[in-house]
C-alpha cells in the first residue's frame, strides 16, 4: 500500500527528528559535558571530584537508605491492602471508597506532600495540636519517610491490586484439599504467584523516591539526598555545571538498573490460563482486621492532607485559627497567582494534546504500519529510554542543550520537555488499543476509496477515542503535578504552579502553597472526572466489549461502572516508573 507508506514514513521521520532533538541530543550533550574537565579536555575529573565530595557521597548513602526502607514499608502495606480488597467479603462500597481514596494523592505535586506533613505533624501541626505533643521530629528522615510512603503507596497498590486480579483464587481450594496449613495456603496461593509483582512494586517505589525532587525539597531539612544535592549544585549560589553533569549521569545509573530489574522481575510472574470467579469464604475476624487496616491507612493519609483544605480557610495558621475566606480571597486576588494558574493549565493542556498526538503517531508506526521492523522497534526504544531517564536528569540535559537558544525561557520548551517525559505510558496505552482493533480496516477503507489519512480520521481514531481520552487525562494530570524536570528550565516569565510553590516556600508563604495545591488538586479531579465520563460514555463497541469482559472477570467486584476507570490507572502505573 503505497500511500500508507508515504504518510507513515513522514510520521516516522517526524518522530525521529523530535526524539533526536529533544531526547537523544540533550542526553549526549549531558554525557559529553560530564566527561569534559575544567581544561576543556576529555577527562574523568568531574566524576573523581564528585566521588571525593563527602557531602555527595553522604547524600547518595542517604538516598539509598531512605528509598530502600520506604520501598519496603510501602510494599508491605500495599500488598496487605490489595490482598484485603481481593480476599475478604467486605462490602462493595467500602472497597470502592478505599480504592478511590488511596489514589487521591496522585493528583497532587510531591511538593505538597512535604508541606502537608510539616503542617500536620510539625511542632504547630494539626495532628500535633490535636494529640497535644509531637510524635517525632519531621524534618529529615522521619518526614521524608512518611512523605515517600504517601507518594509511592498509590502506584504500588495499583500495581499489586491489578496483579491480584490475574491470580486464580480457586487454587485456595486446591491447597486446602491437599491439607496445607493456613500459612502455607497463603504463601502458595497469594505470595508466590505475586513474587514478580512484589519485586516490581519494590523497585518502582524505590525508583520513585530515589529520583523525586519535590519531597526532599520541602521536608528534607539537613538530611540531604541526591535529588536535592543535584539541585543545589546546579542552581545554588555558585552553580557548578561540571559536577552537576556528573551527578546527573550518576543518578541515571540506578534508574537504568531499576528498569532492567523491572523487566527481569517479569519473569517471575505466574500466568494462569483461566481466571474463574471465586467466592471467598465467610470470616468475620479476617474481614474485621482488614477493614481496620484500610481505615487506619486511609485516615493516616487523609489526616495529613486535611490541612490542605483547612489552611486556606483560616485567618493565620496556627496563630489565629478563625474561619475566614479572607485568606483565600487575598491569595486568589493576587494577579500573579492567577497568571501562574492560567499558565499551568495552559501548559498542561498543550502538553496533553501534543503528547497524545506524539504517542498516537508513534503507536501507528509501531502497531499499524508495514514499515520495516527496525522502525517499529525504534518507537519502543524511545518509549523505554524516556521511561528510564529520571525527570531531573532530562531537566539538566535540557538546561545544557537549550540555554542560549531561542527556546530558552519559553513555555514551548516546558511543553516539549513534558511531552517527551510523559511519552511512555500514553504510548503503551494506545499501542495496546491499536493492536487490538481489526487489522483490515485500512485496507477496507482504501477499497472504499479512502486515502490512508482519511481512514485514520474516519475509522481508526473514532474507534480508539476512549483510549485517547484516557491519554489526555493522564498527561494533563502528570504535567500539572510535575516538578522534577521543569525546575531547571522555568524562568520568571514561565512560572507554573509547581515552581511557584517552591518560590512561595522560599518566602515562607505557606498559605499560598496550600491554595495552589488545592487549585491543582481540584483542577486535576475535574479533568479526570470529565475525561473518565467521556471515555466511558463514548459509545464504542470495542470498549464496551472490553468492559463487559472485565466485569465478567471480577464478578465479585462490586464497582459496576468503575473498573474500567481503575483499569486505566492500573495500566498507566503498570508501565510507568516515572517520578513526578
Amino acid at each position: 500500500m503505497e500511500n500508507e507508506r508515504i504518510e507513515l514514513k513522514c510520521i516516522f521521520g517526524l518522530i525521529c527528528i523530535i526524539f533526536a532533538g529533544a531526547l537523544c541530543s540533550p542526553l549526549i550533550i549531558l554525557l559529553s559535558k560530564s566527561f569534559i574537565g575544567a581544561s576543556g579536555k576529555l577527562s574523568l575529573e568531574n566524576y573523581v571530584s564528585v566521588l571525593h565530595n563527602e557531602e555527595f557521597i553522604l547524600s547518595l548513602q542517604h538516598s539509598f537508605a531512605i528509598s530502600g526502607l520506604e520501598a519496603l514499608i510501602t510494599v508491605v502495606l500495599a500488598f496487605l491492602l490489595a490482598y484485603g480488597l481481593h480476599y475478604t467479603r467486605l462490602p462493595g462500597w467500602f472497597k470502592s471508597v478505599v480504592q478511590v481514596l488511596l489514589i487521591l494523592p496522585m493528583f497532587l505535586p510531591t511538593l505538597t506532600y512535604g508541606f502537608a506533613v510539616i503542617y500536620s505533624l510539625g511542632k504547630q501541626g494539626l495532628i500535633t495540636q490535636l494529640l497535644g505533643q509531637q510524635l517525632f521530629s519531621i524534618y529529615g528522615f522521619g518526614g521524608l519517610l512518611i512523605s515517600y510512603i504517601i507518594y509511592t503507596l498509590p502506584p504500588a497498590f495499583i500495581l499489586l491490586y491489578n496483579a491480584f486480579k490475574y491470580v486464580d483464587k480457586h487454587f485456595i481450594v486446591v491447597s486446602q484439599i491437599m491439607g496445607d496449613p493456613p500459612l502455607r495456603t497463603f504463601y502458595v496461593t497469594s505470595v508466590r504467584p505475586m513474587i514478580g509483582t512484589i519485586a516490581a512494586s519494590f523497585i518502582l517505589s524505590f525508583f520513585l523516591s530515589f529520583t523525586d525532587f519535590g519531597i526532599p525539597a520541602s521536608i528534607g531539612g539537613q538530611y540531604t539526598v541526591v535529588a536535592t544535592e543535584l539541585y543545589m549544585v546546579m542552581m545554588g549560589a555558585i552553580p557548578d555545571f561540571q559536577s552537576g553533569s556528573a551527578i546527573a549521569v550518576i543518578m541515571l545509573i540506578p534508574s537504568v538498573a531499576a528498569v532492567w530489574l523491572l523487566r527481569f522481575s517479569e519473569r517471575f510472574n505466574f500466568r494462569y490460563n483461566k481466571i474463574t470467579a471465586f467466592e471467598i469464604g465467610r470470616d468475620r475476624v479476617r474481614d474485621g482486621i482488614f477493614a481496620l487496616l484500610c481505615v487506619i491507612v486511609i485516615m493516616a493519609i487523609l489526616s495529613v492532607f486535611a490541612i490542605m483544605f483547612i489552611v486556606p480557610f483560616i485567618k493565620s495558621w496556627p496563630y489565629q485559627v478563625v474561619f475566614t475566606t479572607e485568606t483565600l480571597q487575598r491569595i486568589l486576588s493576587d494577579s500573579s497567582i492567577k497568571i501562574v494558574y492560567i499558565n499551568s493549565v495552559m501548559v498542561a493542556a498543550a502538553t496533553a494534546v501534543i503528547g497524545t498526538v506524539l504517542a498516537y503517531m508513534a503507536a501507528l508506526v509501531n502497531a499499524r504500519s508495514h514499515l520495516p521492523g527496525i522502525c517499529k522497534l525504534l518507537m519502543d526504544v524511545f518509549a523505554m529510554v524516556t521511561n528510564t531517564v529520571p525527570g531531573m536528569v532530562i531537566g539538566v540535559a535540557f538546561l545544557f542543550t537549550f540555554t542560549g537558544t531561542s527556546l530558552q525561557n519559553t513555555f514551548l520548551l516546558i511543553i516539549l520537555l513534558n511531552s517527551i517525559r510523559e511519552f511512555t505510558t500514553p504510548y503503551l496505552m494506545i499501542q495496546a488499543s491499536l493492536s487490538k482493533i481489526n487489522l483490515s480496516w485500512e485496507t477496507t477503507g482504501a477499497l472504499m476509496g479512502d486515502s490512508w489519512a482519511k481512514t485514520i480520521f474516519r475509522v481508526i481514531i473514532p474507534n480508539t477515542m476512549s483510549t485517547v481520552f484516557q491519554m489526555l487525562s493522564y498527561i494533563f494530570v502528570q504535567a500539572l503535578v510535575t516538578i522534577s524536570a521543569i525546575v531547571f528550565i522555568t524562568g520568571a516569565r514561565t512560572m507554573v504552579m509547581t515552581t511557584k510553590i517552591t518560590q512561595a516556600q522560599y518566602f515562607e508563604k505557606y498559605d499560598e502553597v496550600f491554595v495552589l495545591s488545592l487549585l491543582i488538586f481540584l483542577t486535576n479531579i475535574l479533568v479526570k472526572i470529565m475525561f473518565d465520563y467521556l471515555a466511558n460514555h463514548n459509545d464504542i463497541v470495542l470498549h464496551i466489549k472490553v468492559k463487559r469482559k472485565f466485569q465478567g472477570l471480577s464478578k465479585k467486584s462490586p464497582r459496576s461502572g468503575k473498573p474500567a476507570r481503575l483499569q486505566a490507572n492500573v495500566q498507566v502505573q503498570e508501565y510507568t516508573i516515572k517520578n513526578m
Binding site: 503505497e2 480496516w441 476509496g449 474516519r458
Partner: protein, 258 residues
C-alpha cells in the same frame, strides 16, 4: 474476464505461489481451495493488489493489471471477520464508500441492495447489535455499493453458525446471478468450496492440483492428495449424515411398531 497468467509469488527463496494460471468468466463463482498455511492470504493479497507479484500477469478484460495499485484495480473483498467499522451504524457502513465516490451507486440501488440482503430492519443498528449473519450481509452490502469488477470472499461461511450457512450460500449465488458478478471465494473448507461454486481450483504446495467443476473433482480426483485429504473428509461427513438419517428412520419405525 479475469485471467491469472503464471503467477509466482516468493518471499526470498520461499515460494508461496508457484505458476498459478486460471481464467474466470464474467458472472462465474470460483472457489480456490487452499490447505491451511498454503498461502491463502498471499493469494488474496495478490489478486486484490496489496502484495506485488514476483512474476506473471493479472489481466482483466484484456488489460494488464499486474502493476496497478489496489485502489485503481476496482476489485473488492469481504474479509473473513468482515472488518466493519464499529463507530458507525450498519447504514453508515453500507454507504461508507459513497462519501469518496458519490455517484457510484444511486440511492435506489442502495435501497435495493438493502432489501435484497434483508437488512431493512437492521440499518440503524450499531454493529455490536448485529448477529454474525447480519454482519456478513452488511459487509457484503458495503462492498457491493462500490460495484466491484471482481468480488473476493475470504472464507465467507467460516464465522457463521452451522444452520444459516446454507441460506447464505444461496444468497451469494443469487447476488452473483443478479449482478452478473464475478466472484472468487478463497477458503480452507472443501465443503464450502465444492458446494458453492461453479468451478473449484485446488492448490497444493503453492501449485495447482486440479481446476475443475465440483462434480468432476468428486468423481475424478486428479491425484492422491485430493483423494486423501479432501474427498475422504467429505465422505466421512456424508456417511455420518446418512447414518444419522437412517437411524432416525429405523427409530421411527421401531416406535411405530410399538
Amino acid at each position: 474476464m479475469l485471467e491469472l497468467k503464471h503467477i509466482v509469488k516468493k518471499y526470498d527463496d520461499n515460494v508461496i505461489l508457484d505458476d498459478i494460471s486460471l481464467s474466470v468468466e464474467d458472472g462465474e463463482i470460483i472457489s480456490i481451495l487452499v490447505p491451511s498455511g498454503g498461502g491463502k492470504t498471499t493469494l488474496l493479497n495478490v489478486i486484490l493488489g496489496i502484495t506485488p507479484i514476483s512474476s506473471g500477469q493479472i489481466v482483466y478484460d484484456g488489460t494488464d493489471l499486474s502493476g496497478v495499485s489496489m485502489q485503481k484495480r476496482g476489485f473488492n473483498i469481504v474479509f473473513q471477520d468482515y472488518a466493519l467499522f464499529p463507530n458507525l451504524t450498519a447504514y453508515q457502513n453500507i454507504v461508507y464508500g459513497l462519501r469518496n465516490t458519490p455517484g457510484i451507486s444511486t440511492k435506489a440501488e442502495v435501497s435495493e441492495l438493502i432489501s435484497l440482503l434483508d437488512l431493512q430492519e437492521h440499518v440503524s443498528k450499531r454493529i455490536s447489535q448485529l448477529s454474525g449473519g447480519q454482519k456478513q450481509r452488511v459487509a457484503l452490502a458495503r462492498t457491493l455499493v462500490m460495484k466491484p469488477k471482481i468480488l473476493l470472499l475470504d472464507e465467507p461461511l467460516s464465522a457463521l453458525d452451522g444452520v444459516i450457512k446454507e441460506s447464505i450460500k444461496e444468497r451469494i449465488r443469487r447476488i452473483a446471478r443478479q449482478y452478473h458478478l464475478t466472484t472468487i471465494i478463497v477458503t480452507h473448507d472443501p465443503e464450502e468450496a465444492l458446494t458453492l461454486s461453479h468451478r473449484v481450483l485446488i492448490l497444493n504446495g503453492g501449485k495447482i492440483a486440479q481446476f475443475d467443476t465440483p462434480a468432476h473433482i468428486v468423481h475424478a480426483p486428479k491425484d492422491i492428495f485430493i483423494e486423501k485429504f479432501i474427498l475422504s473428509q467429505l465422505k466421512i461427513k456424508r456417511d455420518n449424515i446418512y447414518h444419522l438419517f437412517q437411524e432416525e428412520n429405523t427409530g421411527n419405525d421401531a416406535a411405530a411398531v410399538h
